[in-house]
Amino acid sequence: MSKIEMTVNGKKVAGEAEDRTLLVNFLRDNLGLTGTHVGCDTSQCGCCTIHLNGDAIKSCAMLAIQAEGADIVTIEGMAKGPKGEERLHPVQQAFTECHGLQCGFCTPGMIMTSAAILKQNPDPSEQDIIKGLHGNLCRCTGYVNIVKSVKRAAELTRGGA
């Protein structure tokens, strides 16, 4: 067991964990941030997706100790406006408007990846979105409304109404 420190959603945090503890389990069990999910446990479904130093990564495919000292953002940290006020992220807003979820299990991962897609490509085509979401699986929606949500999120981010 060792003490692992990192910054999560803007706050410095620490927890005791074994070297083999996965980042997803550290976030969920040590830090109580259960918005990040364990879905397939084989690195395919993307339910565990978070942002590490600005990059979308699968937290079930990483050790907590690997992420020591990193700057992590989870779904819990997304509803923050530019002045730190509580406000849905444009991606979250879009998923609400476009009904981009049913059971919601894949949704945190979908939102984290979608935000990453838009950071790289503020005006993605449908194909860009579909390709970008290749690492996120949904069992409910058939993806149509998820793609619509990301398109809408792009609009909102560009200042559309």
Binding site: D41, Q44, T49, K58
Partner: protein, 266 residues
């Protein structure tokens, strides 16, 4: 996964020392294959040596007609590098086809080549471009490197430091993706090298991992045309048959993907 000890190497020197100190230690690059493997309990290293913060293993640059890619270069970095896009756009495209967005943010070229998954994309490129694999001990030519499924010429204590890609005239990679996993069921990389020679690297289809399709190379050397590939078949006996596809289908796919790659070069 089984319990293990994590060690973070701060330099290549330290990584070599840590690796030598423990007989059951394993190196970790991006961990995108290793961590899932450990979770499935298919391996039980005593120590994991993380190369993630070894600065000497990073860096992408072109010098004297050779693109040098640091072993710890992430697929995302290879894909978006202006240097790679200019020197070997076929390689940038290949990197963009690996895994998915999240995997590309962690997975590395060195890790992929050290693992030698029979359906990984880079091996086809490494063979087609006649890449030199540089380790902390020596330089290994592509043709001497791949030794079968998940097997390479790397020895105990050997760490890949960079991969040297001679800049070709042109190269294209065409992959038939498994619809669920995205892994190559057949991936063909054709490279027209600076000296005019043609090399064809194939991944995903072979029963012993990536290979060079020498019959296609000879035909394309005589005539760099789609006609040259007509009627050429990979022997199904040398191809992989499993629940995803019989060997005959993979053999067929190699021919199809070779034509698709060539079409983009003509």
């Amino acid at each position: 996964m089984y319990a293990l000890n994590y060690q973070r190497a701060k330099s290549l020197d330290e990584a070599v020392k840590l690796l030598a100190a423990e007989p059951e230690a394993k190196l970790m690059a991006g961990g995108q294959t290793l961590i899932p493997t450990l979770k499935a309990r298919l391996a039980q290293p005593s120590h994991l040596i993380d190369l993630g913060r070894v600065a000497e293993l990073k860096g992408i640059e072109v010098k004297d007609g050779v693109l040098s890619v640091g072993a710890m270069s992430k697929h995302y970095e290879v894909m978006t590098s202006a240097v790679v896009q200019k020197a070997i756009p076929g390689l940038a495209n290949m990197a963009s086809l690996i895994g998915d967005l999240q995997v590309r943010n962690m997975g590395t070229m060195g890790g992929s080549i050290a693992n030698n998954d029979p359906a990984a994309d880079y091996p086809a490129g490494v063979l087609a471009h006649n890449v030199t694999i540089v380790t902390n001990k020596r330089e290994i030519k592509a043709d001497d490197y791949f030794q079968g499924m998940f097997a390479t010429a790397l020895e105990e204590g050997e760490i890949i430091t960079k991969l040297l890609w001679p800049v070709p005239k042109k190269s294209v990679y065409a992959k038939f993706e498994h619809p669920a996993s995205g892994y190559a069921m057949a991936g063909v990389c054709i490279a027209q090298l600076a000296d005019g020679s043609v090399r064809v690297g194939v991944t995903g289809a072979g029963s012993s991992g990536a290979f060079r399709w020498t019959e296609a190379e000879e035909a394309l050397a005589k005539s760099f045309s789609l006609k040259a590939l007509e009627g050429l078949k990979v022997d199904p006996e040398t191809c992989l048959g499993d629940l995803h596809a019989p060997a005959e289908y993979r053999a067929h796919l190699v021919g199809v993907m070779a034509k698709r790659a060539l079409e983009k070069m003509l």
